[in-house]
């Protein structure tokens, strides 16, 4: 029997606010332990939360981008459980009245578009982090509350995903949107984007859902597909052997590449949600919702489509350029200086991408203007594509403009036919064997002669002219 997987994802995205959700502490990654804490986010006695409206604006932006209904009134609830990284013994979250519901996200996979339902989006505060002292052989732990109280949105999908690949595509697509909106930086390794998955399988064609497991600890982009694939195989094997799936929470072990049971349904927490009496209901004016809708930027899917339709880029190039909003911005800025979309796309997706190596594109020496200038130099025949690679390396290393590099290093392409003719004559005279081969019909011997001419001109001869001249002379 053939089975299909049914997957729903719960994605936590850390919002790009300057401060935490309910106090004025900085919400920044990488500070010294407990540097970004105060009485409120440490859960001291007597403290009260005050909402950071900026977090609501970002949640609203995500909600309208995912076509959700945004609720003009939603409610804060307390999720109660004990853990050292949770200072108040409860997390302020939203429960039965979230800020937004009933949206969707279109994903593309192998040329097909699938619409994935978004059940809900709610706001909540993050917990701190337990740090276990390895030197003490696990006998001592510390808590770092820097992350405690930073704002998150949880985006819950419908169980509409049917494979590990679809789930990965959904995550990629969602991350791209959140980055475009400047709602979340999308960094899974640093934990600013996190994913839990509900997974079950059922016989193909069956309507009824199978027993599901919840997968946690999928803390890298690469793990989304791997963890789900493993879990689907595990469940298929159990059912294939006539077994039953146990409803439980499982952790992805990225070292062993397996999922492990964490707790069963019986051990599940009773979170005793109830409305937080310290916070009034969250009100969002409908005018604010309209404004958020109107001020949405062009989203990656639309942008990618436009690159294909209007700029005639390949789907692959368009996807690559739109993956990171900074890269798309760079591309569009360069395009204003020199309208060769195809060439700019190639440079950005290849040479510039290599140069980037994880850095932010706006931190590079190469600017949209200088890259456009480089492509223009090639297009005008001032330098060859080969020389351009050297010029690019210099630009990237020093920030010198391509025009200056070319001028300083005398890299201007030789288009003086007399000079090339002389070099061609010399090459023909010096390489009789190659000439003979060519005459015998071996066309690739021409390449050898072109190489010889280029070498003689220090690589600066216009290769098109060299070809033409050699052909004429040997024709």
């Amino acid at each position: 029997m053939s089975y299909e997987a049914v997957i729903g994802l719960e994605v936590h995205a850390q919002l790009l606010t300057a401060t935490k959700l309910f106090c004025g502490c900085r919400a920044a990654f990488g500070a010294a332990p407990n540097a970004n804490t105060c009485e409120v986010c440490l859960g001291m006695p007597g403290v009260l939360p005050v909402l950071n409206r900026r977090a609501v604006e970002l949640a609203l932006r995500a909600a309208v981008a995912l076509d959700c209904s945004v609720h003009t009134r939603s409610q804060w609830s307390r999720k109660n459980y004990f853990y050292p990284d949770l200072p108040k013994g409860y997390q302020i979250s939203q429960y039965d009245q979230p800020v937004a519901t009933a949206g969707h996200l279109d994903i593309e996979l192998e040329g097909r578009t699938r619409r994935i339902g978004i059940t809900r989006i709610h706001l909540e505060e993050d917990a701190g982090k337990n740090v276990h002292d390895e030197a003490m052989a696990g006998r001592r732990s510390y808590v770092d509350f820097n992350r405690g109280g930073t704002p998150l949105i949880e985006i819950v999908s419908e169980p509409d995903l049917r494979s590990a690949a679809e789930a990965a595509a959904y995550m990629r697509s969602l991350r791209r949107i959140l980055r475009y909106l400047e709602v979340c930086d999308g960094n899974m390794e640093q934990g600013s984007l996190r994913c839990d998955a509900n997974v079950s399988i059922r016989p193909e064609g069956e309507e009824q859902l199978g027993t599901r497991t919840e997968l946690k600890n999928i803390n890298s982009f690469r793990f989304v597909e791997a963890a789900l694939r493993h879990e689907i195989v595990r469940q298929t094997e159990i059912i294939g052997d006539g077994g039953e799936i146990v409803q439980e929470t499982r952790l992805w072990d990225s070292q062993a590449k397996v999922t492990r049971s964490m707790r069963s349904k019986e051990e599940a927490h009773d979170y005793r949600y109830f409305p937080d009496p310290d916070l009034p209901d969250l009100h969002i004016e409908s005018a604010e919702i309209d404004k958020a809708r109107q001020s949405l930027p062009e989203l990656p899917a639309a942008k990618s489509r436009r690159y294909v339709d209007e700029l005639h880029l390949t789907a692959y190039d368009a996807e690559s350029l739109t993956e990171d909003p900074g890269v798309a911005r760079f591309f569009e800025a360069a395009l204003l200086h020199h309208a060769n979309a195809k060439a700019l796309a190639n440079w950005i997706n290849n040479d510039l991408a290599r140069e980037l190596g994880g850095r932010r594109i706006d931190s590079l020496h190469v600017t949209p203007q200088s890259l456009a200038e480089l492509v223009a130099l090639i297009d005008r025949g001032t330098i060859s594509g080969k020389i351009a690679k050297d010029v690019f390396a210099e630009m990237a290393a020093t920030g010198t403009s391509p025009g200056t590099v070319v001028a300083q290093k005398g890299l201007t392409q030789v288009t003086d036919t007399a000079l090339i003719e002389a070099a061609a004559d010399q090459a023909i005279a010096a390489n009789p064997a190659a000439v003979a081969q060519l005459e015998a019909g071996k066309a690739n011997a021409l390449g050898y002669l072109v190489g010889a001419v280029m070498k003689q001109t220090g690589g600066k001869a216009n290769p098109k002219l060299v070809n033409e001249i050699l052909r004429r002379k040997l024709g």
Partner: protein
Amino acid sequence: MVDWTQCTLAQLSQGLAARAVTSVQVTRDCLARIEQIRPLGAFLFVDAQGAMAQAAAADARRASGRVNGPLDGVPLALKDIFLTEGVPTTCGSKILEGFVPPYDATVVRRWKAAGAVLVGKLNMDEFAMGSSTEHSAFAPARNPWDITRVPGGSSGGSAIAVSTGAVFGTLGTDTGGSIRQPAALCGVVGLKPTYGRVSRYGVIAYASSLDQVGPLARNVTDTAMLLASIAGHDPKDSTSADRPVPSYLAELESGVRGLRIGVPKEYFVEGLDGEVGSAVEAAQKAYEKLGATLVEISLPHTAYAIATYYLIATAEASSNLARYDGVRYGLRNDPGAGLIDMYFATRGAGFGSEVKRRIMLGTYALSAGYYEAYYGRAQKVRTLIARDFSRAFEQTDILLTPTTPAPAFRLGENADDPLQMYLADIYTVSANLAGLPGLSLPCGMTRGGLPIGMQILGSHWSEATVLRVARAFEREHDFAVRRPPA
């Protein structure tokens, strides 16, 4: 020579202004008085050194003509539920023994800015859970009128300190009657303002939707002055109201002529002590003589108030008290057998039996499968109770009731019967559920010499009216100036 400790706050304020006395002199007298009343267990912490320094600073301000207002140099004290930077705050619990807060509650900041001399922290039922101050983890407090009896609670220390002349005013908190009931039992004035009138920031939470800060004082005028010193919006408390604070003194003496005073029939029923009932009825007649009209009204959901209160308050408490986990501050008992055992050992040793009882009740009320039947339904009844009051205030301006069903009971009398103690709140909890202001005013003495209090309830934000009504009675009677024998 004037014994300033027997004067009112307003009198002292005038005395300080007239240079008839200095803050240092009166603070020293207060500290001596505190020493005298030590057996009553009113204080958990006396900051003698700090108080003398604050008093000296107040006198220096006055000498240089930079007085911060009527409270400048006046010795006051705080229930030990208010966080005080650098001064121990226990909330009457072992779990916070030795805890020294890193910040001041908003009302503490305001009192400091007003120049008040903060002499110490007052005894209370642990985490404000109780009506007798017997549930203090450190020592039970005693009623100054009869030391075999309780002072009421949970703000028992706050009532004793005012009643005995140890300080000129105190702050308490009132979740179900915790200001009004001890005020009644100790013979002082206590006011629970409208929910949202006073900031809760830095006040250790018991039940967040019910807790409200308020003053206890020797008379109505002092109460009005103290309310003015703490009322108003606080950006740090999202439930505090952003609306103007009226003058509480402007109309204090305007009387009650033409005012309609409602008498809820559900409050004068079986269980009400005869002497208390007569005293309140006498007060009703006194108001009629002063030109007010009495109107019998009905609050039909009164019978459900106690049950509703104990479901909501304990549910919120079970969550509010989760932070006392031994991880960051306060008591930690770690048997070295892992996290869960640390939690059990710490909370097991740190909380008293009444606190544990309420945490368990509240946890149960919020549990999956029970939430709707208990917490959900309690919220619905709460709405009905609030509606009862809205309807009543269409027919009347103010309500007059007993504060407590009986005068002060004996220590230990209700120790084995928590339900009996819960009934001591029967007349006070509704105001918390509905968020209304309520004031307890001395209105008589029992034949045995115990104070009797009556309660004046107003509509939302009507503190000025409540105080005016109280003042009209006080002017004609001398109960408020009586002092305990102690």
